[in-house]
């Protein structure tokens, strides 16, 4: 299922459609969001290098880690850095976001990273940031109809320096840009009001949330009983994803996460009962529509009184006639709409209880039934 996410990001958006956007959110209870982010990043890089993805370049906007971290990360995962000038670029919003250093001394940054990254010295000006990102992206892919992807390290950092509406503005503008293939970002949900989280969920087409493995165990004192459960929370977690599909439906999926030194592993969930679904139970009615078959059957039913008004003399069946005459006349079929072999007519064989009763008596209204 994490593969599904990566595949969606890899395939990108269609012509005229907004780019698919992924929100990864985590919280203090299960702080593995960054591992998920790294996983998605390396997967996308692999796809770009292999040429399988729609995008041909990647711009990483680094807020919470320095560019050298990303270089090391890619090296560790076996991705070739030497040729990476043409497909990846890192926008450094980590070193000096507010422009406090007037002159930049590049002793801190390693040689490789400086060729891959450029500085952004004013993160408060989101318009400038937007144009920087687009510029870098276009620089990677050159002229033509190619597209590039964007990864934003930590949106929580972005909103520290700018208002919610401007952050939402830049994200939606990036999404709707013609040359952006896909975009994803990380968010720590407990740093914000619910409003900001819901804004980001509104803007994205996939929402992945990392949750603690044992919900109940979080926040409790470390006791001998729940020690094992708490320990599980340190390494494991639950991964819920909500996809907004093109046909307007929402796909909900769930997996388990295991965090190890080498990286993060996703395993499918064992028990299906744990899936929490918002159940919207509307008031349903019984189906009063008939299918084609049922309609045909209904048309075949002979109703009483139907033949009246045709000019023939009206006779009312009074149930007194003998059996011999009964068989010649068509009788009422029961209300069942089941296919019948002999031209769909059912039979009711009715014997009157006694001959004393007058026809059309009030006691037995069935006498009036005239077929």
């Amino acid at each position: 299922m994490a593969d599904t996410i990566c595949r969606t990001l890899r395939d990108g958006g269609l012509e005229g459609e907004h780019a698919p956007a992924l929100t990864i959110k985590d919280s203090k209870a299960s702080p593995f969001g960054f591992d998920v982010f790294n996983y998605v990043l390396t997967q996308l890089s692999n796809h770009i290098l292999a040429g399988k993805s729609q995008s041909r370049g990647l711009v990483v906007v680094a807020y919470s880690r320095s560019p050298s971290f990303y270089v090391d990360l890619l090296k560790r995962r076996g991705i070739d850095i030497a040729s990476s000038h043409d497909w990846i670029h890192i926008l450094d919003c980590y070193t000096d976001p507010l422009g406090w250093k007037n002159r930049l001394i590049d002793k801190d940054i390693s040689q490789e990273a400086s060729s891959l990254s450029s500085f952004c010295q004013d993160v408060r000006n989101l318009d400038k940031l937007y144009s920087l990102i687009i510029e870098q992206g276009k620089g990677l892919i050159g002229q033509g109809k190619d597209r590039f992807s964007i990864a934003i390290d930590l949106v929580s950092e972005m909103v520290r320096h700018a208002s919610i509406s401007s952050v939402a503005g830049i994200l939606s503008n990036l999404r709707s840009h013609d040359q952006v293939s896909s975009i994803f970002w990380l968010l720590h949900s407990d740093l914000h009001e619910i409003k900001f989280t819901s804004v980001l969920e509104y803007l994205s087409s996939m929402v992945a949330s990392v949750e603690p493995f044992n919900q109940a165990a979080f926040g409790q004192r470390v006791d001998l009983e729940n020690l094992s459960m708490l320990e599980q929370n340190f390494r494991k977690g639950k991964f819920h994803v909500r996809f907004k599909r093109r046909n307007g439906r929402v796909r909900v999926m769930c997996e388990e996460i295991l965090v190890e030194l080498a990286g993060i592993k996703f395993t499918p969930v064992l028990s299906e009962d744990e899936i929490i679904n918002q159940r919207l139970l509307p008031k349903v009615q019984f189906n009063l529509q008939l299918s084609e078959e049922e309609r045909n059957e209904r048309a075949k039913v002979v109703l009483p009184f139907e033949h009246q008004g045709n000019g023939k003399p009206i006779q009312i069946y009074d149930g007194r006639r003998s059996l011999g005459e009964n068989k010649e006349e068509a009788l009422v079929s029961t209300g069942k709409l089941q296919p019948d072999e002999d031209s769909g007519k059912g039979q009711i064989i009715y014997f009157r209880d006694s001959d004393d009763e007058m026809p059309d008596s009030d006691e037995d209204p069935d006498d009036d039934l005239d077929i």
């Binding site: 307007g248 929402v250 679904n277 159940r279 509307p282 008031k283 349903v284 009615q285 008004g309 009206i314």
Partner: protein, 449 residues
Amino acid sequence: MKAAQTPHKKEVPCVFGRPPQLPITKIIRLSAALLARHRRCSTPTAALSLPPRVCSLRPESLSCRLSTIYSWHFTGKTKLCSVDAAMATTKPRLSSFSRNLSAVSSSQTPGVKCGPNGTMFVSSGIADLDKILGGGFPLGSLVMVMEDAEAPHHMLLLRNFMSQGLVHGQPLLYASPSKDPRGFLGTLPSPASLKHDKSRDRESEQEKGLRIAWQYKKYMGENQPNFDSHRDNKQDYCNEFDLRKPLERHYFTRQRVNCVGIQDSKNLAALQEHCASFLAQHQRNDGSCALAGRIAIQSLCAPQCEHSNMDWEMLSFIKSLKGMVRSSNAVVVITFPPSLLSLSSTKRWQHMADTLLSVAAIPDEDKELAKLLSGYQDMVGLLNVHKVARLNTQVPLILEATTFSIKLQKRRFLVLECLNQAPVDGSSGSSYGTSGSCSGSSKAGTLDF
């Protein structure tokens, strides 16, 4: 004033010949009394004829008033004919005892229909929705649609609404938070080709022939219930839209469509200006309306707009818009995502609306839901009707069902259907009590939205 005695059954009672000094109100009262008598008899038909003097006065207002006072409708058009012709035109027409809201098609403007209580309707672009709402969107009302953050179904409603207006030549003002609002016009659907319309006609005609098992035929002779079909009018009023065919470009010329982007402006003053000038062109004067206007505002509180955190500004904008539209021949449709507003703001916005709808997404590949509802495979989403506008009347519209499923027939045509329970599978072993939705399903969940 002479009123003919109620004749026996087949003949038509009529009112004829009156001194010209009688005011119109008296005529109306008299005819109301006459009809009240006729309700008790079996042939509720009346021909109302007036001398030519009266006919010179505005006949539309008279017939409108007549139809609003008592909502039995005059089948077809009200014929205001002279006295001599009255007796000649005695055609026994059995009007059905039905509250038919398309009472009098007195307004000649296409796309506007007269309704009860002096209201006029425009179509929403979706025939099923018009039926549910009792005729369409009333002119002068504010319609709000609550979006679901997870599904774009409100765009379907907006598209049909806008297309319907353009097809009828009604001016349109469209506001959206995207950078290029005009680009959205390229996604508007076009009316479906005639072939599909005809097949739907035939289907509904077949259903009209009732088979009644009762001995009425020997009493009534050849009088068969005759359902007048207003179908010739109906096709014009609400079109069937093919979502795969884009609307032809000549429909959205500059005069008819004005697009406004609300993302970049600091506050809502510019949008308010636009709406005010648009509505000023459609002021409602006494009498028939010239042309109805439509305003469509998409995602009013979208997060990328700067005004999205100014709660009170947005509320006062909506309030002023509602006041302006009340006195004009226009309909305003606003969509907004309630998840982005605070709870109290959402409640206030909901109270502002005259008609309140909401759309919801449905989970994909949900086996529980597939078992519960029939037709789950074709469903795209759900539509809820929370409030229906009732102008000029105190009587509410009580719907049998408020939740409908949105389906795309042949992936082209939008239909709304009632939710039907799937047939309970007897072999599964679940008893009636647990499988029915009324008693709640085995998983705990909210029973309504």
